[in-house]
Subunit: 237 residues, 2 copies
């Protein structure tokens, strides 16, 4: 399955290794880490065991979540914290069939936060969708175990996939579109000053519902550029 | 849930700790270990994190799987190896609703083998039922991750449980019954000499289908005793 696991600022090399093994167990495509805190390769490889070595070999190391997501078409965040702003309404089991269906012909990133804090609001808002894993009271799941549960659910759901989902815009194409939307919002004075990331996340969630293709994302982007040009000409800039 | 996780001869203290944490995450009742190879409490407690400490505190340590299972009503084994003798026909997802339903009013043991070899045939045969976790090719799951997947599936299935299952015989009551059945089989010359555990496992799987209550197990046991007595009287022993 064209599924990538993205670990944001993982603290322990053992967890990176355990995730590599899980990728092998459940047929993920690749492993990406953003700003790993400790890359002790001996510990990573020990936990990856035999099956996970190839994921360690080709592991991509990025310096930002944006960079990590650039070639993916869809990014889904895992989170245990459910603040009002975070708008997480789906459980893992509810979202798994959608992930499996999209992964038939799209590169899907499953994004997991740091062992201590999970994902920040800003990181969560960079993703198209989000889910939570229900637990019995003690909600603090180990990150490697959260990855195992997620890949397992998607793997189970994938065997039931019937219809293909459309090929979606890549994350980079989406990002260019959102940058342009943000620019337009600024030009027309439609960005609240107190929390820009939250505002942009609302737009991202809203447009994510439309599951935009590359062509559609370019269309929205082009529309915004024309609007900006027209407004600037009007203002004589 | 009255669910116990039984680890048979775990090699690494980190795995015991990770399992304790998983017990807290998904509402299991207790943790039992059989002949642990390494009880480094510092490592166990570090991996158990805050939520898992109580499971470490009250962890039961046994010297045999029989002893570990004695107070349970139903034991289900997890296995990755699927030899012809092992007769494992259910996936975790298929068996989870049954485990959740039984756990409404029975103590259910989930039995996991050693990191290197898993469960032996003899250990597998001590259990009432068995399941396997489907994977994508590389089937070697870390034992703590197998426990997490299992508890998660049972936890999800438990929220859908409608009807209560009957209160079953305890493992000890079952064992007494099987001991008597074995004795009877020996008296009447009905035990193949080449593989007694396999023979007894066939009987166990056969009778497990009936999901015997305490009363029924005692009845079968009493019937066997009467048969043995009658046969011995006839033979003038």
């Amino acid at each position: 399955m064209p599924i990538g696991v993205v670990l944001v600022e993982p603290r322990y090399p053992e967890n990176i290794g355990a995730v590599a093994r899980a990728c092998a167990n459940f047929g993920a495509e690749r492993l990406v880490v953003v700003n790993p805190q400790n890359l002790d390769w001996t510990k990573i490889r020990a936990m990856a065991t035999k099956g996970g070595q190839e994921f360690v070999d080709k592991m991509r190391i990025c310096s930002s979540l944006e960079e990590a997501l650039s070639s993916f078409n869809w990014a889904v965040a895992s989170t245990a914290r459910l603040g009002t702003h975070r708008k997480v309404y789906k459980t893992l089991r509810e979202i798994a069939p959608d992930i499996a269906a999209k992964a038939k012909n799209n590169r899907v990133a499953l994004v997991f936060g740091n062992e201590k804090w999970g994902l920040s609001n800003e990181e969560l808002f960079l993703c198209n969708d989000a889910f939570t894993i229900p637990t019995a009271g003690y909600s603090s799941l180990n990150v490697a175990q959260a990855v195992v549960l997620t890949l397992y659910e998607v793997f189970c759901a994938a065997s039931n996939v019937k219809v293909e989902k459309p090929k979606l815009a890549t994350y980079e194409e989406q990002q260019q579109m959102y940058d342009r939307i943000k620019e337009l919002c600024e030009v027309i004075g439609y960005v609240p000053h107190d929390n820009v990331p939250l505002w942009m996340s609302s737009i991202r969630r809203f447009l994510s519902k439309m599951e935009l293709t590359s062509r559609e994302a370019r269309m929205v982007q082009g529309f915004c550029r024309k609007m900006i040009d027209a407004l600037r000409r009007r203002d004589g800039v």
